[in-house]
Symmetry: C2
Subunit: 429 residues, 2 copies
Amino acid sequence: MVPRLTTALSGPLLELERRFLDNAATIERWLRSQWQEHTPPFYGSVDLRNAGFKLAPVDMNLFPGGFNNLNVAFLPLCVQAAMSAVEKICPDARNLLLIPENHTRNRFYLQNVAQIAAILRRTGLDVRLGSLSPEITAPTTVELDDGASLLLEPLVRRGDRLGVDGFDPCMILLNNDLSAGIPDILRGLESQHLLPPLHAGWAVRRKSQHFAAYDDVASDFAKLIGIDPWRINPYFASCDEIDFHDRQGEDCLAAKVDGLLTMIREKYREHGIDETPYVVVKADAGTYGMGVMTVRDAAEVRGLNRRQRNKMSVVKEGLAVSQVIIQEGVQTFEEVAGGVAEPVVYMIDRYVVGGFYRVHTARGRDENLNAPGMHFEPLAFETCCTLPDQRCDPDAAPNRFYAYGVVARLALLAASLELERTSLPAGVA
Amino acid sequence: MVPRLTTALSGPLLELERRFLDNAATIERWLRSQWQEHTPPFYGSVDLRNAGFKLAPVDMNLFPGGFNNLNVAFLPLCVQAAMSAVEKICPDARNLLLIPENHTRNRFYLQNVAQIAAILRRTGLDVRLGSLSPEITAPTTVELDDGASLLLEPLVRRGDRLGVDGFDPCMILLNNDLSAGIPDILRGLESQHLLPPLHAGWAVRRKSQHFAAYDDVASDFAKLIGIDPWRINPYFASCDEIDFHDRQGEDCLAAKVDGLLTMIREKYREHGIDETPYVVVKADAGTYGMGVMTVRDAAEVRGLNRRQRNKMSVVKEGLAVSQVIIQEGVQTFEEVAGGVAEPVVYMIDRYVVGGFYRVHTARGRDENLNAPGMHFEPLAFETCCTLPDQRCDPDAAPNRFYAYGVVARLALLAASLELERTSLPAGVA
């Protein structure tokens, strides 16, 4: 299903979608040539925002946690894409070790882990789950809502190889974003395929590096199909040496916020957009929508009260925030069932395999929809993202989803570039 | 949907399907390793027969003509598989020339051509249709039932390259089985990718060579999962220098028929199967179910009347039959909507992308269901073939379709071996 766009500004988006549609062959060919030069991450998910006049990624997750939210009709696509990935990475693979997040009490997340394991098993891999959690000291069965269960086992390191008891994998797939740092047990595994690489984890990764790579991708792509790259690319800036508790770095932050707001205002004028510009300040490392705030005026980042400063100063695993990214806010004009909706696109290897909407009834269209404590309803895409239909309107379901799939793959390509550029020296990995 | 098996012999098939299910990981891994050594044909379809005690391919088509019969829900699988194939064959491909059969008045076939073109276009290829037909001397639009149309263009040869006016393709995809011989215009195209290769056409190809390769594949596979290879492999023999008009070769035919019937009878005894053995005599080259007869006693091939001899002596394009294959008959015990049903599985590259049942209400369970003049109803598979589910019974829909997909891929692998073995010397191609 395609949610209703509740905006009068459908003109420009239709124009963008029309451009994608008319250039579908060019786009697919270009992407194919890009994948000849760059290796896609094993998997990923992209949060998109669709403002009517702009369709852009706002976050790229390399440890996707919502495979359970995808339409089951697309499961065969996941299996086929995973087959293709496994064949390239380790064709004679027999065993795969999946390392999940430690929060084993999140029943939604556990369903995601079960789904990833199910997909991989259908490619012909023996899949076992190795846990980084200090609580898992013996094989531990956790029950799932659907009556199935998962067996979590303690990791076993033997020399330069990692596994679980009696299980030596060819591939290790991380579904743990390493927010807490790179554990020693994961270092120096040169003889095994560790995916995604360690520097894809939030211990090393920075959103600003991703969006710097995305700048390049968006710019090349925009040239390819003749659009203003801003249509698909949010402005961003970053500040280092921030300490929200000590109010350190406020000047940098205020200056960058002001600079971005000015640039956005100009673009709005250029394109005749009658909206209030805003930016989103987020921790440069980390996920789960923690350490995020929406800002409409530079003055706001100066007068933060204690509660706001506390909220911004830590992210997942209690990590202190010292670097932030300031990103152009992209409104979401999509509405599903009375709530604002944000599309999330899932990919395995270089293939779009499905997606869902995050639907919030209690949030505004310029707010972050992936926030802790916020309940969102996942709503699986009903249509897949690879079947553009030139005979239909640009906003018909297959065409809107095609546009999502294109922008999501641009973000995936940016992640490939980002990981190439940030690759750790051999000694560290 | 899985049709009802109208047999008391579901025991052995359940056992076979159970074996596939229990060994799914082993099977997938083995197939992956096989595809490392052998290149799958670009596409193919396999006719299967499911006798309850036996599940086997009876024909492997390298120019599949029923993509229009597949469940549209699986179209994304087709696109993804085609993307993977194109990437391997010619990653920078821009143009693809599709060469269809000449019978442009068959509206079902034309829908198939349109579907293949639609799949390929979605991988980012510009697709045009070049016709071998002498009737197509100028660009010719043919209307389709759904209101769309196809543009057939005359082939244009320039030096060692083939295209249509103003169109120089990197890849040429044959959907014409070359029953009438290899046209000169297709020879010597060394600088373009011609798929499948010329010797996959019926001008050169022989069913007996395919099933000889299948013998090897079935034998290896049966060892892998510990089954009698006969469970998935029909016995066959062949006779050369047959002339039905002159009654030449009757002795060879009768002897081979008798030998096969004896072998089948023995297997039936061994496995306690209470059925009447039969064989199918078919032209060794050719398709469309022409030149096919069912034989239950060697005496039958001696006393052929004029009508029967005429029927057996020519196949498509009026070609004379001089070689025949005699194949163990495999009953079909599947029934859909009161008619006997035969599954047909479709593949692109090494991926199963869907399938359908041929359903005949007027035919028996030991008769050929792909016969000229016979009307069959295609019934698309509702479930895909890559999602075996160990928690369900072996004959639950996902598991039965998984079994179909496995046997179909064995036939596809046999086709790869066959094409390697029968590869033409460079001068001929």
